[in-house]
């Protein structure tokens, strides 16, 4: 049984026909000394210790039973009381504790049993090369030869080639049927438009209350959605494109280019909230520097310079929403964005 086989002589004996490559094979190697003498454990030498270990294992299995029963009891006598979050905690905690005891008891019991009481001798099993024997391989080759001969797949080329053609084509319909994962309409049109249009009021997110220009004090920032968004069926899809940040700076801090001079109102500017990198909401506004920071990948946009990127992986500035006020003093959009909002995509400028 134990301590058989290997000693120096059969160590590192490689089949000479197998290349060792860079491996160095030398006859000047130290011999494998063979197995160390077996060291018996206390359980094997002392029947008292053996009995004690036996009791220990049984005790752990016993504790497991206690734990499992305790879990059921906890489930029943500590129910969840609606409106009381503490009861959820108690239930989770006690149920979990019972279950964990039930599991640990079995686990530690079994491992202790194996380590302390089961036969501790190392056993030896011999390896055989993974490669099949020559006879087996010859048989396998013959199987293929017979298959070829009896079906004629190598000889009847027209059958073989049409079969290959058929097998190549048959999965294609399986791919095509996935076209209707998405609606028929071209995504490109939809990515170019949001629900903002001329005269849409800017409202607070999420309440939908319109914003008066007079409410927007210097240094304040508003999270904005278009009026009527909350009533739409496709609210989230539209919000993912139409979310806007509104803030007021001193007009002299804004460095607007010529064509955008009329897009703000008394230092109030509105920019898309959707990051031009991968689309996270650019929610963090630093009042002192007028920088917007995306919390996902830390792109920073400078509001004083038309939201151009000053740091981070984003390339393009946040698109600006041209705004004005209506007759009642509420902020409204002059038009939709002049470019697609959100992350870049291949056909964006097309």
């Amino acid at each position: 049984m134990a301590e058989q086989g290997a000693s120096g002589s059969d160590v590192q004996k490689y089949d000479a026909s197998v290349s060792a490559g860079t491996g160095v094979v030398t006859s000047d190697r130290i011999d494998n000394p063979g197995f160390e003498p077996f060291r018996a454990r206390v359980s094997e030498l002392d029947s008292k210790k053996e009995k004690a270990n036996e009791r220990r294992v049984a005790m752990m299995f016993g504790l497991s039973m206690v734990g499992s029963v305790a879990a059921i009891v906890a489930y029943i006598i500590f129910p969840i009381v609606p409106g009381d979050p503490g009861s959820v905690r108690t239930n989770t905690f006690l149920l979990g504790l019972g279950l964990a005891l039930g599991l640990f008891g079995i686990g530690f019991g079994a491992v202790h049993w194996a380590k302390a009481l089961m036969d501790g001798h190392d056993l030896v099993e011999f390896r055989h090369g993974t490669r099949g024997s020559d006879t087996t391989r010859a048989k396998a080759v013959e199987v293929f030869h017979l298959g070829n001969k009896e079906s004629g797949i190598g000889r009847r080329t027209i059958i073989r080639n049409t079969l290959i053609g058929a097998l190549v084509l048959f999965p294609l319909p399986g791919i095509v049927v996935f076209r209707d994962l998405a609606p028929a309409a071209d995504p490109n049109d939809q990515l170019r438009h949001t629900v903002w249009k001329k005269g849409t009021r800017l409202t607070k997110d999420p309440s939908g209350v319109p914003i008066k220009a007079s409410e927007v004090t210097l240094g304040s920032v508003f999270h904005v959605i278009p009026d009527g968004l909350n009533d739409r069926q496709d609210k989230l899809e539209q919000k993912a494109k139409a979310a806007v940040l509104l803030m007021r700076l001193r007009p002299e801090d804004l460095h607007a280019s010529k064509e955008r001079e009329g897009w703000s109102y008394k230092g109030i500017v509105a920019y898309s909230k959707i990051c031009t990198h991968v689309g996270c909401p650019v929610a963090l506004y630093e009042q002192q520097t007028h920088h917007l920071l995306c919390p996902c990948h830390q792109s920073q946009f400078d509001i004083t310079h038309e939201a151009e990127v000053i740091f981070g992986p984003a390339k393009r500035p946040l698109p600006q929403l041209p705004i004005a006020i209506d007759s009642e003093g509420y902020l409204v959009a002059q038009s939709d964005f002049h470019e697609p909002v959100g992350p870049s995509f291949w056909e964006r400028e097309h």
Partner: protein, 556 residues
């Protein structure tokens, strides 16, 4: 296979002549009944006493396997209550702060699992903790395989299968994470959407098909659910089966030790020792996950609230295993996007995506690369000690460092806020580190390995310092060295030795380019080489050594 129908297969030899007890009779009858219909005795004979070697690092793969079982069990429970639907409902469960708020059925049912079903929160947390443990243990298991060279012939294919399992585990993790449709996971999906849109030519359409229209749409949770509980687990279980079958066919590797050779396996038999240890270990793993889940909250979606494309909180973090991908996105400098005619090419997306794919491809292909460098066609069943393959270990350390830098980058904002640094400074430091740190790790690791090999060699030849200083009759002080036993020495000297190949013309008298490349690669691998102690050296060293006995003689 012949089956003896008269004598039950399991009858122990010693009790054959005693009248069997009732219990034995039932067991015998059942064993016979099953064997006559399944031939199972053959399988028991083949596998029942199969030997498994023992080493603490061999349990890492077991942890992965057992945590997967825990995931299956807890996940099945969750499917009975979870509703994979994005239909908008008004929440009316026990969690007061969200009462009356509109959310998807997925989010609402996840809240119900957490607050209205006894044990629901516990099993949700068991599922999540087990998933985190699953990915972590696969990663550590892969590192064990890598650093001990257990991927060498004949196990290259099993390495690739294991790699596929790792990727599937990541996919399972991400799809599962996205199912509750909470604010955090929704932002994760938003990032996926942005990344997909950055793929040239087809990106826009892939995103459109994936989400069933515009992001977020009403389809994605249901689709991810199909992937998460059906398609991915099916592939995972199949690959896991293949992984286990090859483990049995190839037999387990073992570390070098007295009596252990390339031709044997030394350890415990499946029945009973390994079965008891491994079976017990499953319960311990399950217990650890259960205990963690009872004490420590994970993914408190009720704090985040339902998904909304507008809000996001600062310091958002993905689950740990996605960190390296998120970090790669963060490290791209400003401005990496350009126009190709009328089309937008987002290098800020493509570079990290392609970079990570290449990194993973290198991991998958490494065994084939090393096999090419060594040209070693022998089977290897003795696991290397990492120090004895310095270049491989150094490459591994470089890879781990590269991963670690990306992973750190995923927390760049938290690093900045916790340590009062600027975000720009942290990012710039990590941008440099991602290239420099792996090189440093490579060099340092290689030197450490070689130093350890030298120390091993020294100890094998001259023994170890006993701490006993002796004054010789001539007044000279020496420290007595204690020799190793043959068994101890064997562990230090029995490693695989490789030397660089010599560049030689082939039989047509030419030096081909592949040959030149291989020579250079093998030079890179094995140029700095510590040769194992040889028999001649050992014999020679005994002459000049002052051993205990000699000191005893001389000082008498």
């Amino acid at each position: 296979m012949t089956v003896d129908t008269t004598a039950p297969a399991s009858a122990p030899a010693t009790s054959a002549d005693l009248p069997p007890s009732n219990g034995t009779r039932v067991t015998n009858w059942a064993a016979n009944y099953i064997d006559e219909r399944t031939s199972i005795s053959g399988l028991v004979k083949e596998l029942g006493r199969k030997i498994f070697p023992d080493h603490w690092s061999f349990m890492l793969g077991e942890v992965a396997l057992y945590s997967f079982v825990v995931i299956l069990l807890s996940g099945t429970f969750l499917t009975f209550f979870f509703q994979p639907s994005m239909a908008v409902v008004t929440y009316d469960g026990s969690y007061a702060p969200l009462k009356g708020i509109q959310m998807s059925a997925a989010m609402s049912s996840t809240l119900n699992i957490s607050f209205d079903i006894r044990g629901g929160l516990l099993l949700r947390q068991v599922h999540h903790w087990a998933a985190l443990l699953f990915v972590a243990s696969i990663g550590l298991h892969m590192l064990r395989i890598y650093f001990t060279g257990a991927f060498r012939k004949p196990r290259e294919i099993n390495w690739v299968i294991g790699f596929v399992l790792f990727v599937l585990a990541l996919a399972e993790g991400f799809t599962g994470y996205s199912l509750p449709d909470d604010l955090l996971s929704g932002n994760g999906l938003r990032i996926i959407d942005g990344m997909v849109k950055g793929i040239p030519v087809v990106g826009t359409w892939i995103s459109y098909l994936l989400f069933g229209g515009n992001f977020p749409g009403e389809a994605i949770v249901g689709r991810l659910y199909s992937l998460h509980i059906l398609l991915l687990p099916a592939i995972l279980v199949a690959a896991l089966g293949a992984h286990m079958v090859l483990l049995i066919v190839n037999k387990h590797t073992q570390f070098a030790g007295p009596g252990r050779t390339e031709g044997n396996v030394v350890g415990s038999p499946i029945m009973p020792v390994f079965a008891a240890k491994a079976g017990g270990f499953f319960f311990i793993i399950f217990g650890v996950v259960m205990l963690t889940a009872s004490f420590v909250t994970i993914n408190p979606i009720w704090v985040y609230g339902p998904y909304d494309p507008s809000p996001v909180s600062a310091g958002t973090q993905p689950d740990w295993y996605i960190g390296f991908a998120d970090g790669a996105l963060r490290l791209i400098p400003h401005g990496w996007e350009f126009m190709l005619g009328p089309y937008t090419v987002s290098m800020n997306i493509l570079v990290p995506v392609v970079g990570l794919v290449v990194f993973l491809a290198v991991v998958a292909a490494y065994p084939f690369f090393e096999a090419w460098v060594t040209g070693d066609k022998r089977e290897h069943h003795i696991a290397d000690r990492p120090r004895n393959a310095p270049t491989r270990t150094a490459i591994g350390a470089a890879g781990v460092t590269f991963y670690a830098v990306l992973w750190t980058a995923a927390s760049s904002d938290l690093l900045a806020t916790h340590f009062k640094l600027t975000i720009e400074g942290v990012i710039t430091f990590l941008q440099v580190s991602v290239f420099v740190a792996p090189v440093i790790a490579y060099l340092v690791t290689k030197r450490i390995c070689i130093a350890l090999q030298k120390k091993d060699r020294e100890i094998a030849l001259h023994g170890f310092e006993s701490g006993r200083i002796v004054r010789l009759p001539g007044g000279e002080y020496v420290e007595v060295h204690e020799q190793l036993s043959d068994y101890e020495r064997w562990k230090l000297v029995s490693f695989d030795d490789h030397a660089p190949v010599m560049l030689r013309p082939n039989k047509d008298g030419k030096i081909t380019v592949p040959a030149r490349l291989r020579a250079r690669a093998s030079n890179w691998f094995f140029e700095d080489r510590i040769v194992p102690v040889s028999l001649t050296e050992i014999e020679a060293s005994h002459g000049d050594q002052l051993t205990q006995e000699q000191v005893a003689v001389e000082s008498r």
